[in-house]
């Protein structure tokens, strides 16, 4: 699968934060800010530079560790869903 990794990182960070932000429970506890999107993108880029590859688990981990601990379980679900959707889009393209 030919994927522009940098574009995928940016897309994932933006999509994840947008979906995460919509949840009432997350809004109540710690609504994600643009800083979180930037943090996800930077963390994934650092990992990509180090390993020269990114696995689906890396995307999920980045979303989870940049989320406040009390909402990390929800973050994991949203991140898995986000990366699944992006992978599907990339395959169909």
């Amino acid at each position: 699968m030919q994927v522009d990794t940098h574009a995928l990182i940016g897309q994932f960070a933006a999509d994840f934060v947008a979906s995460f932000r919509e949840l009432e429970k997350v809004k109540e506890i710690a609504a994600p800010s643009t800083r979180q999107s930037i943090a996800i993108a930077r963390l994934l880029s650092a990992k990509y530079i180090k390993n020269r590859e990114l696995l689906e688990a890396d995307f999920v981990d980045a979303a989870v560790v940049t989320s406040y601990p009390r909402v990390q379980k929800i973050a994991e679900e949203i991140a898995k869903d986000t990366i699944r959707k992006l992978a599907k889009q990339n395959t169909s393209n």
Partner: protein, 302 residues
């Protein structure tokens, strides 16, 4: 000053000079399991110029991880433990009143605090117990974390050295004495690294690594682990049975083993003394009966 006083002052000065730590000592840590993952994440966060916060109950190795990172990356290490009484001047520094009177507001009169030293010298600054810091102190971190600058009254604004690293360390919010981290600060803490009590294999390795003259056979090590594990699961304990408790028991037990005096009954006594501080119950008789009963029961666990 009498001759005796002079001698003791001289002796103290000589001993003091010998004891000054010019180089940081090597950090021994078992980089296994959750610690390996946490260390890699810490490294990734710093490479990505993100601010990490290590969260976990007392005694799981949060500070050790930060210290190890500073040692490995050859950065000077600074830390400050927060409480209600800590003020921003403890972080940034203060003017020495005596020098201030004679020379005025100048660099010579300024005594820098650990945060400023780390920012100027490119060191690692560890904010220990961050969720015990007052809002006043928490606000002092906003500028250094966001802009990588710091304003020092009367002297001006400095920009942080490129090697400057800020690591926050905190207990989980449910621990007593912990406060809320303000929303503004929380948003600037980018990577949340969680540590919990290690797995059995990792904890046994940690205990062995911290008991230098380890004279304990695997069976005794297993018993010590069982005592710690059972205590953590018991409701009568506050959640403070840390890895340190296991190390304490192993170290004392090792001394007894060296003298061939270690029996189950001795091990029960050692564990009892080491665990006393972690029990919430204050009744002495209860402690004696219930705690020793729990320890004895742990010895028979597989």
């Amino acid at each position: 000053m009498t001759e005796n006083q002079c001698d003791s002052t001289r002796e103290f000065k000589e001993q003091f000079a010998r004891q000054i730590a010019s180089r940081p000592s090597e950090v021994k840590i078992v980089l296994d399991g959750q610690y390996k993952k946490a260390y890699e994440l810490l490294d990734d966060a710093v490479s990505a110029r993100l601010t990490p916060i290590i969260v976990g109950p007392p005694g799981v190795g949060k500070s050790l991880l930060a210290r190890k990172f500073a040692y490995d990356t050859q950065r000077p290490f600074y830390e400050l433990f927060f409480d209600e009484l800590m003020s921003p001047s403890h972080l940034i520094g203060t003017f020495n009143p005596a020098v201030l009177v004679s020379k005025g507001y100048c660099m010579e009169a300024f005594e820098p605090g650990p945060l400023l030293l780390a920012m100027v010298g490119g060191g690692v600054f560890v904010a220990q117990e961050l969720n015990r810091a007052s809002e006043f102190c928490q606000n002092s971190f906003l500028e250094p974390l966001e802009e990588k600058t710091l304003y020092i009254p009367r002297l001006g604004k400095i920009r942080a050295n490129d090697n400057f690293v800020f690591i926050a360390v905190a207990n989980p919010y449910e621990f007593s004495g912990a406060h809320r981290i303000s929303e503004a600060l929380r948003d600037r803490l980018h990577v949340w690294i969680s540590l919990s009590y290690p797995t059995k294999e990792t904890e046994l390795k940690i205990i062995a690594a911290n008991t230098p003259e380890n004279k304990l056979d695997p069976e005794t090590m297993q018993k010590i682990y069982n005592i710690i594990d059972q205590s953590r699961q018991s409701e009568e304990f506050s959640k403070l049975v840390s890895v340190r408790t296991g190390i304490s028991i192993a170290r004392i037990a090792s001394r007894y083993a060296e003298m061939d005096l270690l029996t189950d009954s001795v091990l029960v006594d050692i564990a009892y003394q080491s665990l006393l501080g972690s029990v919430t119950e204050r009744n002495a008789r209860w402690k004696e009966n219930k705690l020793k009963g729990l320890i004895r029961k742990s010895l028979t666990c597989k």
